[in-house]
C-alpha cells in the first residue's frame, strides 16, 4: 500500500468511526424538534419547539433541574472548601504520613462507590437520614474528596511558597495566608476541581435514586429516568427535549475546563503527587 493510500484509508476509517459514534445522538437531536417524533431518527421534515414547551413545566423539568443545581452545587462548593483546607498542610509542611495518606487517597478513587452505597443506605436508614438531601450531599462530598484533595494539592504545589512569605511577615497565620494569597493564586485550579465535581454529580443517578425518598427532592438524573421508563415509549419528542435540556449544562461546563483536563491524561507511567 502506498503512503497516499494508507493516509486515505486512515481518514476514511476515522470518518466511519465519527459517523458510527454520531448515530445514537442523531435521534435525540432530530426527535426534539419534531412534534410527532418516532423512535427512528427520521429526517426532520418539520421543525417545532413544542416538545421543549411541553416539558418546560415546574414538575417535569424546572424543579428537577433546580434540585440538580442545589445538590451538585453544594457538593462542589463543600468539596472545594474541605479539599482546599486539607491540601494546605499536605502541600506546605513536611508530614511523615503524607505519602501513605496520598497513596491511600489514590487507592480510594478506584473503589466502586456503587458498592459503598449499600452500607450507606442502611446507615442512613438507621440514623433517620434516609431522604435527607443535606446528608446525601455530605456523602457525595466524602466520595468526591479523595480525587479532589489530590488535585487541589497539585494545584497548590504550583503556588511558590515565597509568595506567602510577605503575608507571614505581616503576621498572617495559615488561614489568612490560604484565603488571601494561595486561594486567589490558584483560582483556576479551584474552578477546575469545582466544575469537575459538579459535572460528576450532575450525571450521578444511583446515589439520589437510592438515598432520596420523594419525587420532589429528586435531581434531573432520576426524573429523566422516571420520564424515560414511564413515557419513553410514547412521548419520544419530549424525552429527547428533556435529555437535551438536562445534558446541555454538563457539556458547556466540560468545554469550559477541557483545556485544563487535557493534561490530566498524560500519565505515561508517572503521576505527580
Amino acid at each position: 500500500m502506498t503512503r497516499h493510500a494508507a493516509r486515505t484509508a486512515a481518514t476514511l476509517a476515522l470518518l466511519l468511526i465519527a459517523v458510527a459514534f454520531a448515530g445514537p445522538f442523531l435521534w435525540v437531536l432530530l426527535a426534539s424538534v419534531q412534534p410527532e417524533a418516532t423512535l427512528a431518527a427520521a429526517p426532520a421534515l418539520t421543525f417545532s419547539l413544542d416538545n421543549f414547551r411541553a416539558v418546560l413545566t415546574w414538575e417535569t423539568i424546572i424543579l428537577p433541574l433546580i434540585n440538580s443545581i442545589v445538590i451538585s452545587g453544594s457538593t462542589a462548593i463543600l468539596t472545594v472548601v474541605v479539599a482546599g483546607l486539607a491540601a494546605y498542610p499536605l502541600s506546605r509542611y513536611q508530614l511523615r504520613f503524607r505519602r501513605p495518606f496520598m497513596l491511600t487517597l489514590l487507592f480510594t478513587t478506584g473503589l466502586p462507590v456503587t458498592a459503598v452505597l449499600v452500607p450507606v443506605y442502611a446507615m442512613f436508614f438507621r440514623f433517620n437520614l434516609y431522604g435527607s438531601v443535606p446528608a446525601m450531599v455530605l456523602f457525595l462530598t466524602a466520595s468526591s474528596l479523595p480525587f479532589s484533595i489530590w488535585m487541589m494539592k497539585n494545584f497548590m504545589d504550583g503556588v511558590p511558597v515565597s509568595l506567602e512569605e510577605a503575608a507571614w511577615v505581616d503576621g498572617a497565620g495559615w488561614f489568612q495566608s490560604l484565603r488571601a494569597v494561595v486561594g486567589p493564586l490558584m483560582a483556576p485550579g479551584i474552578a477546575v476541581v469545582a466544575i469537575f465535581v459538579f459535572v460528576g454529580q450532575w450525571g450521578n443517578f444511583f446515589a439520589p435514586f437510592v438515598l432520596l425518598d420523594a419525587p420532589e427532592k429528586q435531581p434531573a438524573a432520576v426524573t429523566v429516568y422516571t420520564f424515560f421508563s414511564q413515557y419513553g415509549q410514547v412521548a419520544y419528542g419530549q424525552l429527547a427535549a428533556f435529555s437535551i435540556l438536562y445534558t446541555a449544562p454538563a457539556v458547556v461546563l466540560y468545554v469550559a475546563v477541557n483545556k485544563y483536563l487535557a493534561g490530566s491524561f498524560s500519565f505515561a507511567g508517572s503521576v505527580k503527587g
Binding site: L14, V28, L106, G110, P119, Y121, M123, G158, S264
Partner: protein, 304 residues
Amino acid sequence: MTIATAPSPPATQAPSGGPSRRGALRRLLPLVPSFVLLALFLAGPILWSVYVAFTNETLTGSASVNSTFVGLDNFVRMFGDPNFLNSFLLTFVFVIGSAVIGQNTLGLVIALLQRGRGRLLRSVVNGVVIAAWVMPEIVAAACWFSFLAEDGTLNTVLGISQEWLYTAPMVAVILANVWRGTAFSMLVYSAALSEVPADLVEAAAVDGAGPLRRLVHVTLPLIRRSIMANLMLITLQTLASFGLIYALTGGGPGTASQTTPLYMYEQAFRYFEIGYGSAIALVLLVIGALFSLVYLRLIKVEDA
C-alpha cells in the same frame, strides 16, 4: 480516573518565619474536616459493611430489630446462588467485552489513526467521541434505547426488524458502554502516543520495518505502562456500572443482563436484605481494591 496536571512541586518546607513553628497539632487542623467526612461517610460504611456481611441484617421483619451474627452464611449462600453466579459471569463478560476489548482497542485505534491527520478531522472525531462520554449515563441509555428499539434508527438503517434489547441484551449494553466509555481510553492513548519519540519509529522504518511491525515492536512496548494503567482504570469504572444497564434493560429479560451491581441492588434495595447485599457489595469492593492496588503498583507516584 486520576492523575494530575500542575507543575512540579516546590520545596515543601515552610520557611522559618512561617507557620512551621506552631504546634504540630495545629498544623494538622485543616485536615480535620476531610478526616471527619471520610471517616463518617466512606471508611465507616465500608467497615460497617464488613461487619454486616456476617449478620442476617434486614430492613424488614424480625431481623431488622435483632440481627444476629451468622458467620459465613451470606458468603456460602452467595456462592451457591445461581443468580449471583450468573451475575458474576455477566459482569466478567461485560468488563472484558466493553472495557478490555471494546473501549481499550477502539480507543487505541482511534488515537493511532489520528496521528498526523488534519486538525479539522481530529476535532470532529474527538468531538463526537467525547460528547458520548460527557453526557449523563441516563441520557446515554435513552439514546441507545431509541437507537436499538424495534422501530428505531438501527433497524431502519439496516432495513430489518429486530428487538435487540430482548434478543441480545448483553450485546446491547456492551455496545452502549463501548460507545460511552471509549473517549477515556482515546484521551489516555493520545497523550501516551504524543510522548513516543518520533526518531525511534523513523529509525525502525529506515531499517525496513513495516507499519505493523513498527506498531508491535516499537510503539506498543513504549506505551505499555499506559496500556496497563488504562486497563486497570477502565476495569474499575466498568465493574460497578449500574445506571446504563439498569435504564437500558433493567437486568432483563429475566436475568439475562443482570450484572452483579444490579443483583446487589435487587437484594439490598428491593428485598431489603442488607446483610446479604453487603456481602455482595464486599465482593465488589475487594475486587475493586485488588485492581486499585495493581494500578498503584503500575504507576510511578512521584513525590506524593
